[in-house]
């Protein structure tokens, strides 16, 4: 880490000014998983200068950060810094080492073609559990875990019941009673969620076969819902054989009453 102050800092800011937005498909963003040099992280201490965020990254002459994907005014800023007295002060080996790394990175990134790159878009359900029926559908797990276990992604092998871990299980098969049991297990009621994945944890949905039974679904990382009807196998299909994008509109057989969405925060819940 090196610190630039006063004139050097002003000079750097001037060189780093964004001069043109990188167009879609023009370039790939800086690689995050690459051994060796992956760019330079720049942090402005104090009030950031206009046009540049407080923290951003420079790689191969381009700058990236919040609302920032631009060419820098000085495309050789990285080489300039590597050759500066500040880097030299880190030790005699550093400037040639970093310059070498920088060249390697530039050669590599120039070779990469846009079409080869897998764009890592932020997934809306990044905390959602993955759909892995093979893990659940085995004789040692499948019969002993129900929809509540699966939806919560919490294997107990006890056919878990809402509220039982808190010694306050539901007393009737109604939305209010079953939901109340789940809340005691530390699931979070999210009635206004409207099928949107939470920032933390994952989304589940409670439905009722009035007076007879309840059922849970869970929303996965792929934004589709899956479920485990009782001791049977995990599936991602509804009773019409369709994939489930919203449990409110899925064919749920006798489970006619949609109760609520809830959020499972990983590590917070306790089931039995």
């Amino acid at each position: 880490m090196i610190e630039l102050v006063e004139k050097d800092a002003q000079d750097a800011i001037e060189r780093l000014q964004p001069i043109g937005k990188i167009e879609r498909g023009e370039k790939i963003p800086p690689l995050r998983s690459f051994l060796g040099y992956r760019g330079m992280l720049i942090e402005q201490i104090g009030e950031p200068e206009k046009g540049l965020p407080k923290v951003f990254r420079m790689a191969n002459g381009d700058i990236f950060g919040p609302n920032l994907a631009h060419h820098a005014k000085d495309k050789t800023f990285e080489e300039f810094i590597c050759g500066s007295t500040h880097v030299k002060e880190l030790g005699p080996k550093y400037p040639p080492l970093i310059l070498g790394e920088l060249k390697e990175y530039m050669i590599f990134i120039e070779k990469l073609k846009i079409k080869d790159f897998i764009w890592s878009l932020e997934k809306p359900c990044k905390c959602g559990p993955i759909y892995e029926p093979d893990w659940w559908n085995v004789p040692s797990i499948q019969p002993y875990n129900n929809c509540y276990n699966y939806a919560s992604n919490y294997r107990t092998n006890t056919f878990a019941q809402p509220g039982r871990a808190a010694e306050d299980m539901y007393n009737a098969i109604t939305c209010a009673e079953v939901k109340s049991g789940a809340v005691k297990d530390e699931l979070i009621d999210a009635p206004d969620n409207d099928n949107k994945c939470p920032d933390e944890g994952h989304l589940v949905a409670l439905v009722i076969w009035p007076n007879w039974d309840y059922h849970w679904y869970r929303k996965g990382q792929n934004e589709y819902w899956s479920h485990k009807p009782g001791g049977t196998a995990v599936t991602n299909l509804d009773n019409d054989g369709n994939t489930i994008s919203d449990p409110r509109t899925a064919n749920r057989g006798s489970y006619t009453e949609f109760c609520t969405f809830m959020v499972v925060k990983h590590g917070h819940i306790k089931l039995n």
């Binding site: 129900n146 019941q161 079953v178 479920h227 049977t232 054989g241 064919n251 057989g253």
Partner: protein, 107 residues
């Protein structure tokens, strides 16, 4: 010999089971003995809701669903045609009142 009946029906709650009286067991065995062999693909149920019922007597277990009854014994199984679902209806209806949905009727 004690025989237990049960239905695969619930998701959250454990499935209900019940004792079947000797007279009903006899009637079910009679029905089984009259059935013809079934050679097709076993019927599949939708994921949610009723997906069959069973009777377990010692090491024998019958499973009935949608016009087919399968008997399993000593790792061997045999399926027969349950015409008009007589076996399934008799078995299902042997459940005590109140443990299965009142409105639930096998058609």
């Amino acid at each position: 010999m004690q025989c237990v009946g049960g239905a695969f029906i619930y998701s959250g709650r454990p499935n209900p089971t019940w004792h079947i009286d000797k007279s009903t067991v006899g009637k079910l065995e009679d029905l089984w003995n009259l059935m013809e062999l079934f050679h097709g693909v076993l019927p599949k149920s939708p994921p949610l809701g009723y997906s069959g019922c069973f009777m377990k007597c010692d090491d024998r277990k019958w499973f009935a669903y949608s016009n087919v009854v399968t008997l399993k014994k000593n790792n061997k199984s045999e399926s027969r045609i349950d015409k008009d679902r007589k076996f399934e209806k008799l078995l299902f209806n042997s459940a005590p009142i109140g443990i299965l949905p009142n409105s639930f009727i096998i058609e």
